[in-house]
Symmetry: C2
Subunit: 148 residues, 2 copies
């Protein structure tokens, strides 16, 4: 078994999964699974995008609002709050008039960039294949021979 970098992704995941099989019947207890917890966060509509936008430098609330465009202030606030709550983003208020607030990544937030970048690069690269697969799937209803 030649391991490329460190180990096979399938094995890494397999081990982690085992680690989560803590419920009585051997099932996976959603509540006690840290991964679900984190995934739910990155799964929300905006978190990853915000994190990504803050990757290079701090940004002000209105700047984020402007760049994203189709996010409401409500959701921007909410997203930033939960990121702040999770310790990924730091909020700084400058007591000027009118008030100025900026957001920057914490060390923890920055540490998320690497795995996130991996995923995003994968998404970017696989996008075409996925689109093709979707079209193929949608095109024919369900008439392919699955097994002879």
């Amino acid at each position: 078994m030649t391991r490329e970098h460190q180990s096979n992704p399938a094995d890494v995941l397999g081990d982690l999964i085992k680690h989560f099989e803590t419920s009585p019947e051997g099932g996976i207890d959603t509540a006690s699974c840290p991964v679900r917890d984190v995934l739910d966060r990155i799964g929300d509509k905006w978190s990853v995008l915000i994190l990504t936008l803050l990757a290079r430098e701090p940004k002000r609330f209105s700047a984020l609002n402007r760049v994203v465009g189709d996010i409401s202030k409500r959701m921007l606030t909410q997203t930033l709050r939960s990121l702040q709550r999770d310790g990924l983003v730091e909020r700084t208020v400058y007591p000027t008039t009118p008030p100025m607030v900026d957001y920057r990544l914490t060390d923890l937030g920055r540490s998320a960039l690497e795995p996130l970048a991996g995923l995003i690069v994968w998404a970017d690269r696989s996008h075409d294949q996925i689109r093709q697969a979707r079209e193929a799937f949608d095109h024919k209803g369900e008439d392919m021979p699955l097994v002879s």
Copy 2:
């Protein structure tokens, strides 16, 4: 600038973001962003878990249902369908009675394991810090001095 492996995650993300800034006013057009597209998929409640469970070997519908435990057949079917539609998972029907169906990762699906594993490992490792940050945040309502 010493680049560790290949380049700084912040730079990778920065470049990708630029790539998505295709809307007229310089904002990010959600619709044309492949990353949002993919992230929405992995963001759903079960996809990543299913992908992870299929990492090692194919599994039958009922096996998946049993392992996950708290997923309804409805959602399992739906999740598997969308994964199949995206070309990440392959469905095989054996025309026996009663019918038997199994699911396995495609090459594309397997290619997703690596970035996914990165993210999951990060989630697993950061879980404690995040929990602590949350408690700290929740504990005190909002009385920390932000800037003198």
